[in-house]
């Protein structure tokens, strides 16, 4: 019954006839976790470029004072759509794509637990974003109230309003189904010897993330549904004139919104926790405390939401509570960073592209963490709030944070997915240009915010001109650098054949199957060599 990875390797050669279907039907009707993972990843890359193009419209307009290219209303649509597309269209589906590809392979499962639902949860997404993007062509323009959709402003949206709400509902449904699938897969389909605490960090962080998704996506759905009924069915949940409370929306939104930011970073923690040990040639330092830290962060994420709202006029006691709770997040986040450094310490490091992106992640995410700690200090936050300091902060945790982790993951597992090594020189070029330009873009924004530039404005006073100009140069440089990544993807098939292990003795079940990974892996429960799969217990 139980076979070793080596047996499995041979068996796969006999199973070649179980290949994918031919033509477009393969992609439309597939229930294969690898196909669906690939579709998620390609979809998110497309969305990354669409959202990135919008960012470049924003940075073009902001390159110098005065209006040069777009009207203020369209500018506001760009900031709104950029955020919605990057959050729900790029970062989240990219991590779901990684989960689809890697979780079954890391836990020794043949596929996701609910493969048909898996197909559905992907195919909802192009529909949702088709609807969202179509609002650009509607009377009244695309939504322009910010991705936070605060009422009453959001109720001034034109014809796009119900389409915005419906597309958010669809994104939510997709995320919830994806999360259920991931939880069921992890809980039920691990190979018998893989106890929960032995799971790889990527699987652990995704398990926690999936619970966050199930907990908060319905809350967002509820909030936007209340917006819908306020607009069309005469309710007054958020309308002061009818006895409602506009601030209540903010509480509900950020009860979703704060866990949401951890939904976008916890899987990134998981990715980096896979990569740093491989290239340090040392087991992950403090695996178990990393799990506890991720779980603590997830728990705390539910009780800090109002730190996004220190200026709305909360009672003093409320502000105190949210300030202290927010500061507390620094503790488990610090543990994570220290443990990554502990992993590198006295290792034998090499610096392939995935490692470079992971190291930049640790450096630059930590900078975003520092500005996060500053933002937690409520009296100072009153100055930072809604300024470019906040824009700098969340872009530091999301771009060199989440996006760099995604890039690291892509380079790390690309040989496993395609069976070929990518071009290391080009990969490093991609890394260095991205890292230089990402800092050129976002670091000056700290100064802008501290000097008093509000966010979400299409034009600004002349004293902000220099740093905006630098940020715009950085943004174009960063955008163009990502074309290098497309080149890497398009040319990867020309690279040399990858071995099964790909890297220098990496740990984890995914490295025991051939490269490229066969269409079906782990058809039977696999007996795992403990030194391979559970390195944390067997240094």
């Amino acid at each position: 019954m139980v076979s070793t990875p080596a047996d499995l390797h041979d068996k796969h050669d006999e199973h070649e006839h179980h290949g994918p279907a031919k033509g477009i039907g393969r992609w439309l009707f597939t229930t294969n976790h690898k196909d669906i993972g690939t579709m998620y990843l390609i979809f998110s890359l497309v969305m990354f470029f669409i959202g990135g193009a919008m960012a470049l419209v924003i940075r073009s307009e902001l390159a110098q004072p005065g209006l040069q290219f777009v009207h203020p209303e369209f500018f506001n649509s760009m900031t709104t759509m950029h955020a919605l597309i990057m959050v729900f269209g790029a970062v989240m589906p990219a991590f779901v794509g990684l989960a689809n590809w890697m979780i079954p392979m890391q836990i020794g499962a043949p596929d996701m637990a609910l493969p048909r639902m898996n197909n559905w949860s992907f195919w909802i997404l192009p529909v949702a974003f088709g609807i969202l993007l179509s609002t650009l062509f509607m009377p009244g323009g695309a939504p322009a109230s910010g991705w936070t959709m605060y009422p009453p402003l959001v109720l001034q949206t034109g014809d796009a309003f119900p389409f915005l709400i419906f597309s958010v509902h669809l994104m939510g449904i997709s995320s919830i189904m994806g999360a259920i699938n991931i939880i069921v897969t992890i809980i039920n389909m691990r190979t018998p010897e893989m106890t929960l605490i032995r799971m790889p960090m990527f699987v652990w962080t995704w398990l926690i993330t999936a619970y966050l998704l199930i907990a908060v996506m319905p809350v967002l759905a509820g909030a936007v549904t209340m917006l819908l009924t306020d607009q069309f069915f005469g309710t007054s949940f958020f309308l002061a004139a009818g006895g409602g409370d506009p601030v209540m929306f903010q509480h509900i939104f950020w009860f979703f919104g704060h866990p949401e930011v951890y939904i976008m970073i916890l899987p990134a923690f998981g990715v980096v926790s896979e990569i740093i040990p491989t290239f340090s040639r040392k087991p992950l330092f403090g695996h178990d405390s990393m799990v506890y830290a991720a779980a603590s962060i997830a728990f705390l994420s539910f009780i800090v939401w109002a730190h996004h709202m220190f200026t709305v006029g909360m009672p003093l006691s409320g502000q105190m509570f949210f300030m202290f709770a927010t500061m507390l997040i620094a503790v488990p986040t610090g543990v994570k960073v220290f443990n990554w450094v502990g992993t590198m310490w006295r290792g034998a490091m090499t610096f392939e592209t995935p490692m470079l992106f992971s190291l930049a992640f640790v450096f630059l995410f930590t900078i975003g963490g520092f500005s996060g700690l500053m933002l937690a200090i409520a009296p100072a936050d009153i100055q930072y709030h809604d300024s470019y300091f906040v824009v700098a902060h969340f872009h530091y945790v999301l771009v060199p944070g989440s996006i760099f982790a995604l890039m690291a993951a892509a380079y790390y597992w690309l040989p496993k997915w395609t069976g070929h090594m990518y071009n290391e020189k080009i990969g490093k070029l991609h890394f260095w240009t991205s890292t230089i330009f990402v800092n050129l873009t976002f670091f000056p924004m700290h100064f802008l915010g501290l000097a008093g530039m509000p966010r979400r404005i299409p034009d600004y006073s002349t004293q902000f001109a220099d740093f905006n100009y630098i940020a715009s140069i950085g943004a174009f440089g960063f955008g163009l650098s990502q074309l290098i990544f497309v080149y890497v993807l398009l040319t990867v098939k020309k690279g040399e054949k990858a071995t099964d292990a790909v890297w220098d003795n990496p740990k984890g079940l995914e490295w025991t199957v051939p490269s490229p990974a066969p269409y079906h892996t782990f058809d039977e429960p696999v007996h795992v060599d403990r030194t391979v799969a559970f390195p944390q217990n067997n240094p």
């Binding site: 110098q64 209303e73 506001n76 403090g286 700690l373 809604d386 979400r456 006073s461 220099d466 740093f467």
Partner: protein, 269 residues
């Protein structure tokens, strides 16, 4: 269209730099609490720098010393309970040390009791309305005309030729120096936020809710800020200008505005 875009982009990236004053840091401001806020900000900043120096220092040392190319052999350890307890406990202590002064400042920021005067500021799309409660003065405050002309898409006026581009209004808020000014904030339509960095005040103006904040400017001068909560297409065009003047000048200003004698000035005499 595309040609214009291309030309514009070339223009942007050849525009050269450095024509106006710029700042790297938060202003110290002109109130006791703005200075306290600034001090808190700098304290947390230096704590972050210190932590950064240690963490990044260790990391960089490791990146230099523990590389395979320089012949490093990987160690075998995978955890150290002692180290983990230490680096959980130390941050807790640092956080406590920061939380205490932050909480003290927070308490003072919220203490708007016994004001010398009260102004109701109401946000409109896209201007502010100020009503002095005791002085009987009220007026709208909108973007000043020179900025209004220079802000147009495709306009011919260079923003650099306009004084205080986008940060100037027709009717500024005038308050006496040294007076504790209580600001009551509300909105007529959507959310706005009243932000003047040098007074260290930012508070949302929300329809149906009256928010309260306060400041006591300790020196005269003109202090500029902007709406800080997205409020629609002209969100970037509803600045706030506060003129802090001597009590006599304030009284004279109230009289020219046709209001009653200011309570603050009379108390002061």
């Amino acid at each position: 269209m595309i040609r214009n875009l291309a030309l514009g982009l070339i223009g942007i990236f050849s525009a050269g730099a450095a024509r106006a004053d710029w700042a790297l840091n938060m202003p110290r401001g002109v109130t006791e609490l703005s200075q306290e806020t600034y001090d808190l900000h700098m304290m947390v900043f230096w704590v972050c720098v210190a932590i950064g120096v240690v963490v990044f220092g260790v990391m960089i040392y490791s990146l230099v010393k523990h590389r395979k190319s320089s012949g490093a052999e990987p160690a075998k350890f995978s955890h150290s309970t002692m180290a983990e307890v230490v680096w959980t406990a130390i941050p807790v202590v640092i956080l406590l040390a920061m939380a205490i002064p932050a909480a003290e400042t927070m308490v003072r920021l919220e203490d708007s009791r016994d004001p010398d005067m009260t102004v109701v500021a109401t946000g409109y799309q896209w201007k502010w309305h100020y009503q002095y409660q005791d002085e009987g003065v009220d007026f709208y405050s909108s973007l000043a005309r020179p900025s209004l002309e220079a802000r147009r898409l495709g306009g011919n006026t260079d923003p650099f030729s306009v004084d205080n581009y986008l940060l100037d209004v027709d009717n500024p808020l005038v308050v006496p120096v040294g007076a504790k000014v209580r600001l009551l904030l509300t909105s007529n339509d959507v959310l706005h936020a009243w932000w003047v960095p040098e007074l260290a005040i930012k508070k949302d103006a929300i329809p149906g809710i009256v928010n309260e904040t306060w400041f006591r400017a300790e020196q005269t001068g003109t202090f500029r800020g902007q709406c800080a909560e997205l409020c629609g297409k002209d969100h970037g065009y509803m600045p706030i200008v506060v003129q802090v003047v001597e009590p006599d000048a304030f009284q004279a200003w109230v009289e020219t505005r046709g209001g009653d004698a200011p309570k603050f000035a009379s108390n002061d005499e």
